[in-house]
Structure formats: C-alpha cells, structure tokens
C-alpha cells in the first residue's frame, strides 16, 4: 500500500509554489504563441516571464522560455499539456536537468540630478559590471545580463539611491541545459 495515494483536497492544501523555467521548442507558425498563452490562462497557470524567438530558420523552429510559479505537480501538468499542443516538439523544465544555465538581459535608463548620485550609480554599475549603452548629461543607459537574481539585486541596489528615476526593460530568463 502506498502512502502517496492519500492526497489532500486542493482547498486545504498549503501549496508549495516554486519558480520554474520551462523551455519549449515549437514550429514557428501563426497562432502558436496564442495557443501557449491561452493554455496558461485557460487552465489558471501563471506566466511570470515569457520569451519567444526563432532559433532555427531552416527548420522554422522557435524556442519559447516561460518562467512560471507553481507546485511541482502543477508544473508537471503544464509540461504534459504543452506537449499535447500539435506544433510543440518538446517541453522541458530546466530544473529537471542535471545542469542548466540561465541568463536574462535588462536595459536600465537612469536619470539623476547631481554628482553624488552619479558616483553611487557608477559604483553599482562597476560592481555588477553593467555595460554603458548610452551616456548623456544626467542620464545613463546600462545593459546588464546574467541570472534574474543578479539583475534583481542590481535593481534593488539602484533603488537605494534617493532621488533618481529608473526605467527598465527585461527580457525574462532564457536558459539552456546540458
């Protein structure tokens, strides 16, 4: 007799939500993104971040990377549902691989008012090795890449500087496994 056969009702369960990054290879055809986002909204799954680009022009394939929050059983269900879609070649959870690497890119536009703020910004940019994309008087645009966590930290640190205005855009994580 297996213990795993006793399961609580969804209503009374404390759900252990975990961040997962899913990597999906699809035929690049009209409507594929709508199929995937529709699957998520229709079944009540979360999309925290989403990235779609053609990765193979010859075979017309796109890779879609989705960051989602959910307990393990839900994430496995998402993968099974994704694999049922006709244009989907494969759907994997990077966390299930032995080894996987993640990266995200973020552009940050910072408007500041004085030299002191500028120095603080420069020191953070230096620590995080953010690349200067454009610099004007009282304005700088940085590009930073790496894990989402690293980018979060950089942005958190920037927010400790008072009186500056920060605008950002993020690609969402992408990842590859070995």
């Amino acid at each position: 007799m297996s213990n795993s056969s006793v399961y609580p009702t969804p209503l009374n369960t404390f759900k252990q939500s975990k961040r997962s990054v899913l990597s999906v290879i699809v035929d690049n055809e009209p409507g594929i993104l709508a199929r995937i986002t529709g699957l998520f909204s229709g079944r009540g799954y979360n999309i925290e971040a989403l990235n779609v680009t053609v990765v193979d022009i010859k075979d017309n394939l796109s890779r879609i990377t989705i960051e989602t929050l959910g307990e393990e059983r839900v994430v496995n269900q998402i993968l099974a549902q994704l694999e049922k879609l006709v244009p989907v070649h494969s759907a994997i959870n990077l966390a299930n691989l032995k080894e996987s690497y993640e990266a995200e890119i973020c552009l940050v536009k910072i408007q500041f008012e004085n030299e002191q703020q500028n120095n603080e910004i420069l020191s953070f940019a230096d620590i995080y090795r953010a690349r200067t994309v454009q610099k004007r008087q009282l304005l700088v645009i940085y590009e930073i890449s790496g894990t989402s966590e690293r980018i979060n930290k950089f942005l958190d640190d920037l927010h400790t500087i008072s009186g500056i205005k920060v605008e950002k855009v993020r690609s969402g994580p992408i990842g590859l496994g070995i």
Binding site: M1, S2, K84, V86
Partner: protein, 590 residues
C-alpha cells in the same frame, strides 16, 4: 484526372474527403462556403445531410463518429455558422471524439476588416479544438486536410477545425494524395505501441498480492477500438476481478455479466462506489478521474495502489496521484498482459477474492437501483427498464440528452457491446441527443437508434426533427416528460431548500402534435397501462417518432453522491439525508 491537373480549393476539399473515405458530411450552407457547396453539387460519393442549425451538424458528426469509429465531418459557413458549432467542438474535445470541421471564412484580403459574417474563427475555436488551421496558401490545403484527419483520429482523439477563406476555395493548385503526405511525428502524437514490461509485471504482482482489487474502466478503452474491449473481457475473466465503468465506459464490458458492478460515480451503484472506496488495488483503464467519478478527492479510495492506463500523458496525476502508469495504447497493453499471463502460466486462485466478492454481494443486496412502480404513474426508471426489455434483442444504439433521464438511461439500459451508447459526458450538453441520433442513424442505417430525452433538452435542438424527416431517418425520441429540468430541480430540492427557481418548464408543446406537424410520428403514454404499447409502436414504425412518456414529476435520481461528499456517503433514496457539513462545502461545487 491527370496527376498534375490543377483543382480549385473547393474541389481539393472534396477530393481529400474522398481520399479519406468520408461518405457522409453534415452541414449548412452560407456565403463563405458557397464554392464548396457548388463542388458538392452533382457529385455522388458524398452524402450531405442538411441540418437545421449548425449545432445539429456538429452533434450529428459526433454521433456518427461514436457509433462508427470513423471521423465525423461537418461543413459550416463563416461567422454565425461557426460560432454555432463552438459548443459541439467543446463537447467533442471533452469526450475525445474525432471530428473534422470545415468552416468558410471571408476572403483573405477582407480578414481583419470586420467584414460581413467575419469572426476570428481560429481564435474562438483554439481552446475548444485539438488543433485548428486558417488556410492562407492554397498549395498547403491538401496536406492540411490530411494532417487534420490524422490528428483528429490519433492518440487521444478530438475535434480539428479547418478555416478556409473564400478566395482559397476558388484558387487553384495541384492535389496531393493522402498516401503522398508524410506526417511529422511530433505533430500527430499518436499513442505509443511499445509495451511497458515493468508496468505489466508490477500489475501482475499486485493482482497476485491484492485482496480487494477493482477495474475502473472509462471511454479511453472504447476509443482504443473494439479489440480493447475483447482483451478487457478476457482479462476480467482470467483474473476474476470486479469491474465498474464510467458513464463513457458503458458497453466496454457487458453490463449484465456477474463481474460487472455497473456504473460508478455521482449516480453510480452502491456496490461500484463502495468497491472503489474500499479496494486495495485500483486498475484504471482509460478513465480520467473525473470529478463526477471521484467525489471528494481526499476521501477517494484512500487505501489503494493505483495503476493507470491512459494514452494522454496529461491525464496522469492530474486529479489523482497514481502509483504506476503507462501511456501505451490500451489495446496493446491489455493484449500484452493477457499474453503474459498465458505464457507464464500464472493462475489466479478462485478463492483469493472470496471475501471481497462476498462483501460486494452484500453491497449488491442493498439493491440500490430498486424503485417502486405503482399501478398508475410511470416511474422513469420503469420506462427505461421496459424500453431496454423491449429493444435489447434488436441491433440498438442509444443516445441521450443531459439530465436525470441520462442517468436513468445509464443505470437501467444495460449495454452489452461497445460503441452502442452515445452521450455527452464531460461537457453535459443539453440538446446533444437528437442530432447525435441522426448521426448514428446515418452511420447505421439498418439499426434501431433511440434518443432517450428529457423534454427540456429535446427542445434545445427540436428543429433537427425536420432533418430526420427529410432524410427518412427513423430515429426514436423517447421523452421522459416530467415538465421540469429534472436534474436542476433535484439539486434545488437537495441543496437549495426546494426553491424551484425557474426549473419548471411551463407552456410545453403538445409533443404528439409537434411530431405530426413535422411529418414525424407522435405517440404518447400517460400512464403505466399505455407504456408498452407506446414503446412497441415507436419501435415498429419505420419513421422518425417522438414518444411523449409522462413520468412521475417528482422522482429523483438515486443513488447519489452529493457534490463534496465521498464514495462512502451515498444517498440511496429520498429518505437519506446529507451530512450538513458536506452540504455546505458541496454547495459551491458543481
């Protein structure tokens, strides 16, 4: 026709249907499909059945598919034509029925302009089809059609829609034969035929160890093909294990066999549900742990090891966590198990489950489907029982609408063969049964096709009686008339203090006159003494018949597991009262 002769898109559709061996198509014309209707004119390999509303076409295609094992095909126009089939597509998706729907679309250059009868067909039908296409290039049309049929019928079957703009129907290209198309395996996702040896050996080990095993069989067994039922029967006989089936599994195993416990779930039998509750080994063959079956999940079969056969990976561990699973096509798995048993010479001791069977027989003695038939008013259960007794010697197909009559039909009509029972389970679509009967009769012209109906459901697609008359389809509509939406009334009685809000159907038509006005035949039974005559007349007339059977207006459908209750908390009659704690929780469920 020479090989590289160019055909119009409309002609390609017809050529592909011929190639796919389609002989029947259900549909309704309109502006955006006129080129295809023009191509239909003057050909004779394809029978077109003109329905009276597109919903009728899609349910007829479902009935055709379910009763024949082939893909059901329909053809509708753009805009309202296709929005009318959305319910049926959803129904087919929920119940895994293979259908291909062709829809017309406004010409390509008008897409996106809010043209007359334009709608975003692929957008609207994306969540209710297994796959859909908008054809933008005439050269891809033949491949798309062949792929659509392959997707509809393979793996877990389902509905596929092809939206064809009017200019594409006129454009010309070379036809590509089915045999010349190579399908990409990732797109077809057909079921695996590879046997999972470990799964089989584990199953046999557990069967040997088990004291209280049960088979729980669903529509997946049926979709795997008739051989699956035969292998299942063999396995049940070899192992002496009791078997219960879901609503869609009815007919996979002969209902009157002593190993059959009948249907399980919300309106399942006492013995089936208690067996599920108390078993130590559950063998799920092609069922999906639907909420109508499991009842309250935390009390669902708490002490069993669970094996799950399902071709659809997403069914595994979706609602209920199982211990062992296989995604191999059921026919192949069951066959391999039977061969394994025979080749290894394993025998199953008759006495192994002796206690289990005597426990089951005690539950059976409750006689949970018992009802009291008075001398006057017809009890609905009795009406179905008599219908069964008077038609079971014939080659019979039964469709149903949705509600109390559907559950009574499932309980009292005993199916012996697969594919004889066609009902809307997952979606619960009222108005399904009559068009489904039309489809089943088209596929089985010499069989007796009966739609067991309620008067409220019947009225939802009443127009289709004209279709049956036009094509001389002698379908029988057996209405259990209680002047209520019976199941709604039952829930209001049990859960909403008998406040029958809007569930009484006032101003009903005279069904006999209604039948006559359509040139069909009307019969009526007002009381017990008229019942058998009405049934016999209905069956013997070689025309469409509406039988208006006046039943007890207040009868409820038992046994019942109220929403939020577990298998061990069944109500067996109106005298059983529900646990108030469950009632509070169950009221918010469906």
């Amino acid at each position: 026709m020479s090989i590289d002769q160019e055909l119009t898109g409309a002609e390609i559709v017809l050529e592909a249907l011929k190639d796919q061996e389609v002989d029947t198509i259900f549909g309704y014309p309109g502006g955006a499909v006129l080129p295809i209707y023009d191509a239909l004119f003057g050909q004779n390999f394809l029978k077109h059945v003109l329905v009276r509303q597109e919903a009728g076409a899609v349910h007829a295609a479902e009935g055709y598919a379910r009763s024949s094992g082939k893909v059901g095909v329909l053809l509708v126009t753009s805009g309202p034509g296709v929005t009318n089939v959305v319910t049926g597509l959803t129904d087919a998706l929920m119940d895994s029925i293979p259908i291909v729907c062709f829809s017309g679309q406004v010409p390509s250059h008008l897409i996106g302009t809010d043209a007359f009868q334009e709608c975003d067909t692929t957008g609207i039908t994306r969540p209710c089809t297994k796959h859909n296409y908008l054809v933008k290039d005439i050269n891809k049309l033949p491949e798309i059609i062949h792929e659509a049929f392959e997707i509809a019928r393979s793996g877990r079957p389902g509905p596929v829609l092809i939206d064809i703009p009017k200019d594409i129907q006129f454009a010309k290209s070379v036809y590509k034969k089915k045999s010349d198309v190579t399908f990409k395996s990732h797109r077809i996702k057909s079921g695996s035929k590879d046997i999972d040896r470990v799964f089989i050996e584990q199953l046999i080990n557990h069967i040997k160890k088990s004291q209280k095993p049960v088979f729980y069989v669903g529509g997946g067994c049926l979709n795997s093909g008739p051989q699956a039922s035969q292998e299942l029967m063999k396995l049940v006989q070899l192992t002496n294990i009791p078997i219960t089936t879901t609503l869609h599994g009815l007919g996979c195993y002969p209902a009157e066999d002593e190993k059959s416990l009948g249907m399980l779930g919300m309106h399942g039998t006492y013995e089936a549900n208690l067996s599920m509750n108390q078993c130590d080994l559950m063998i799920n063959v092609g069922a999906r742990f639907d909420d109508r079956v499991t009842g309250r999940l935390d009390a669902f079969s708490p002490n069993s090891v669970k094996f799950h056969f399902d071709i659809d990976k997403s069914s595994i561990n979706k609602n209920v966590k199982v211990d062992y699973h296989t995604n191999t096509d059921i026919t192949f798995s069951l066959k391999a198990i039977n061969e394994y048993i025979e080749s290894t010479g394993i025998t199953f001791d008759e006495s192994q489950y002796k206690n289990w069977w005597s426990q089951i027989n005690e539950w059976r003695d409750k006689n949970c489907l018992h009802y009291e038939q008075s001398d006057e008013t017809i009890k609905p259960q009795h009406a179905i029982s008599r219908l069964y007794q008077l038609t079971n010697q014939k080659d019979t197909f039964v469709t149903t609408e949705v509600g109390q009559h559907q559950m009574w039909a499932a309980q009292y009509y005993k199916f012996a063969k697969p594919n004889r029972w066609i009902t809307s389970g997952g979606l619960g679509t009222m108005g399904f049964g009559m068009p489904a009967a039309i489809g089943a009769q088209m596929a089985n012209p010499n069989s007796l096709v009966i739609d067991i109906a309620g008067e409220a459901s019947f009225l939802m697609n009443v127009q289709e009686i004209a279709t049956a008359v036009q094509y001389k389809l002698p379908i029988k509509i057996f209405i259990l008339n209680n002047e209520y939406m019976g199941m709604v009334r039952q829930w209001q009685e049990l859960m909403h203090g008998s406040r029958y809000s809007e569930s009484y159907v006032d101003a009903l038509p005279d069904f006999k006159k209604l039948a006559e006005s359509f040139n069909a035949v009307g019969v009526r039974a007002k009381n017990l003494s008229e019942l058998d005559d009405a049934i016999n007349e209905m069956v013997s007339v070689d025309r469409p018949v509406i039988a208006d059977i006046w039943i007890d207006k207040k009868e409820n459908c038992f046994p019942m597991i109220p929403s939020g209750a577990s298998h061990s908390e069944m109500l067996l009659s109106k005298y059983d009262k529900e646990n108030p704690e469950n009632q509070k929780k169950g009221k918010v469920l469906v």
